[in-house]
Amino acid sequence: MTDVGTGSAGGAEPIHSQSSKLDTIEPGQQPNARRDPEAPFGNNLLREIMSGGAVLTVLAIVLALVVAAVLIAATDSGVQAAAGYFFARPSDLFVAVWNAVSGAYVSLFQGSIWNFQRTGFLVQIAPLMSTLTFATPLIAAGLGVALAFRVGMFNIGGRGQLIIGAAVAGWIAWSFPMPPVIAFLVATIGGLVGGALWGAIAGVLKATTGAHEVIVTIMLNYVAFYLVAYGLRTQGLLQAHGSNSPVSPGDLPNATYPKLSDLITALGGPATSYTVNIGFLLSIVATVAVWYLFSRSSTGFRFRAVGENPRAARTAGINVKWVYTLAMIFSGALVGLAGADQVLGTTTTGFNSGVDAGIGFSAITVALLGRSRPWGVFFSGLLFGALQAGGYTMQALQQIPIDIVDVIQSVVVLFIAAPPLVRAVFRLPKPGSTRRVRRTPAAVAEGNVK
């Protein structure tokens, strides 16, 4: 294990765009570089996140599923029993492992995409609709985190921004009677504003004092949590009138997101249990908006310029500090949209301080898996939404705790973040390398390091 840190890092990756790294990182070149609001490593981080192809992504997911399979098999009672007499009948163990793992993943599929145990298309497709429901806030919050990434910032404050956004959206939703459509649109805008304000704190502090947004957003998560927890147990703030428990009032009917099942019945269709709601459309709109921002707008161009190289951007006349602030506002607003999703779409009968439901942190993994590109985030949000939806089915049918989804997500991201590791596992060539280069001692050594 020690040779991990013995400086082989330099030799093992000879082609890894070394010259450009030196330009941007400057390890210790300026002892006071940290005072600068721009972390030079941000550029490199961005490059790491955005590089890497679809193959690598798929392999990372496969590896994560393998890791999860090992956990599932190891804790399965049938497998443990068969392992007890392994030398007597080894085949039993393999059968048990196969049963445990295939059972788990079949129920994962069954709970997230297609329920083949039921009859009728509308019922069979219900899991897919459930996936879309789970994906809705993940996409919105993932877009928020991804937007900050593209500007070279790390928004770990998803939890806080989501909680504040949810609180504002919920407050509007139960306080102000409004006509249909307008009601939930206004509440959604409230969620956006709440998240944006909470994100803006980190942006303003970074722009004015150079405070690192990672620390500030982590701390703001807890401040938001306790702030809303206080509001939820205080009459006149967020607590339901006359209630003793820390729960907010339910939304007014007009303020909740219309569900697809309501739409189908309104159009004269059969009754369904589709919980996917208008929030999913809003997530698509948000994805298009972020795509437009980065690909077609001058603001997005400035964002990308600062993300690539803040110093060059400043030289080019871009107000870097304003870009940081604005990016955190946009990022917070998108996470706030996820908060609005939670309150107006999922827990419409009153929320408690657990309204975040882990989405704030999952958003980071969604953004990383989506490589911070709008449509990448959209699809990785769908994937993680499917894992969530399927995870509950897996828990119900196979007694496999839903927490395995956290493990899968984090392992995916670890592998995504370290392309050389995945390449080493699958013995893939490095990008740009030729057969001749692969035979160099360093490259051979790296193959052994695995």
């Binding site: 940290r34 004092t209 050389p420």
Partner: protein, 429 residues
């Protein structure tokens, strides 16, 4: 910088004697002094505040102290104003250009005393030993975690995964401690668990140059998922695997019989005594040994360190390993001292408060430990005040560590300068 590299002899250490007269500490003391004046005159609470200084089992019994609330609060508020003015004078005129740390500590203690007197008016007596013992207990994982954080960051490795280390330490201590019925085996397991998390961090951060914050955040999710998974799959099914033998309380002979101080500091399990020693050892190792100089050089200016023959990544690797071991002991506290079983998310985000303590403690082991104590005390204060009934909503006291850290990291208070190469991988050219 350029002159220093051109003529190395022209940069002796003596040149570092630049007196920085920062007004940040006095200003924050001013703010708290004004708050104290508001408590004293703006929103006075009348009546009497009583403090219970000894518990019924103490060797020496001290009678309950009853103080007139208004007079005490006013007196202490004036004292606080005096201390604040004193720091202003010290910063302006003393040769070192700053006020000593102990003065800030005295100020903090006085302010807490004022707050307790104010909040405790006409309530049942405030149990001072209980308050302090509970605070110390809540602070222990924070102190271990922050020591681990300080070690890692001094070597240039940002460790956001402290929470994961505490959690995995607590889990492993519970599992191994229950299986072997030996708390010592559990402690060793916790250390190993902390080191394992550190190694994953090291592999990704040092070997693959993955952004350290990403790895840290993801590791927290991973450890949380794993421990929750095994909790449901193993502990919930086989409860005997989640029932540890806790460490016994050891009374230090003599010291444990001192009134107040004895019960608070010297009637604990071995883990708390390890903490006292660890704070000192980490401080000594970082600032008084050759190893510590190397660690700090690697964290400040890895290229320079490399130039003089220090293996940057090896130093970082071993420092992070030690940091993981220290944080792991903090995790063991939960399941070998506090309660005898592991629970889902037992740390409740303590690792993030420890991270806050690292920053608030300015990357210094002793200051970080003091910050951890302060945060632990604030956390316990809210539960004590919640029991005896208090005018301040508990959430605002719970928020305190995070708010002061934001204030600190924004540079509004004190110096908040991370090691220069913190978070950047060293890529040898």
């Amino acid at each position: 910088m350029t002159t220093a590299t051109l003529t190395p002899s022209a940069a002796p250490i003596v040149h570092e004697k630049v007196i920085v007269r920062s007004l940040k500490v006095p200003i924050i003391l001013d703010v708290f002094a004004i708050a104290a004046l508001v408590f004293a005159f703006g929103i006075p609470r009348r009546g009497q505040s009583s403090f219970r200084l000894s518990t019924s089992t103490d060797f020496f019994q001290i009678p309950t102290v009853v103080l007139p609330t208004v007079a005490t609060v006013v007196t202490v508020a004036i004292l606080l104003v005096v201390v604040a003015i004193l720091t202003h004078l010290l910063v302006a005129f003393s040769s070192r250009g700053r006020s000593p740390l102990w003065l800030s500590a005295v100020f903090t203690v006085l302010f807490l005393f004022l707050f307790l007197t104010w909040a405790g008016a006409d309530l049942r007596g405030i149990p001072i030993p209980g308050l302090l013992v509970g605070g110390l207990a809540l602070a222990t994982p924070l102190v271990f975690g922050s020591l681990g954080g300080v070690l890692g960051e001094r070597a240039g490795v940002v460790n956001v995964a402290i929470d994961g280390q505490l959690l995995f330490g607590a889990f492993s201590a519970a599992l191994v401690g229950s299986a072997t019925h030996s708390p010592w085996a559990g402690l060793v397991a916790a250390i190993v668990a902390g080191v394992l998390v550190s190694w994953v961090l090291a592999v990704f951060a040092l070997r693959y140059w993955v952004d350290q914050v990403i790895v840290g955040v993801v590791l927290n999710v991973l450890v949380g998922g794993l421990t929750n998974f095994f909790y449901t799959k193993v502990f919930a099914q086989v409860p005997s695997l989640n029932h540890t033998t806790k460490f016994d309380t050891i009374d230090i002979p003599g010291l444990s019989q001192i009134p107040i101080i004895g019960p608070v500091f010297f009637q604990h399990t071995i883990i708390i005594y390890i903490m006292y020693i660890a704070v000192f050892v980490v401080w000594y190792a970082l600032f008084k040994t050759r190893w510590g100089l190397r660690v700090r050089s690697v964290g400040e200016h890895p290229q320079a360190a490399d130039t003089v023959g220090i293996n940057v990544n090896r130093t970082r690797f071993w420092t992070v390993t030690v940091a993981g071991a220290v944080a792991g002991i903090g995790g063991a506290f939960y399941t070998l001292d506090s309660v005898s079983k592991f629970d889902k998310d037992i740390t409740q985000g303590a690792g993030f408060i420890a991270l806050a303590a690292v920053i608030f403690g300015q990357w210094h082991p002793i200051k970080a430990a003091l910050a951890g104590l302060l945060f632990g005390f604030a956390e316990n204060l809210q539960s004590t005040l919640g029991i005896i009934g208090s005018p301040v909503p508990s959430e605002f006291l719970l928020m305190l560590p995070y708010v002061v850290t934001i204030v600190a990291v924004a540079g509004l208070v004190g110096q908040s300068r991370a090691p220069a190469a913190d978070g950047t991988p060293y890529i040898k050219s």
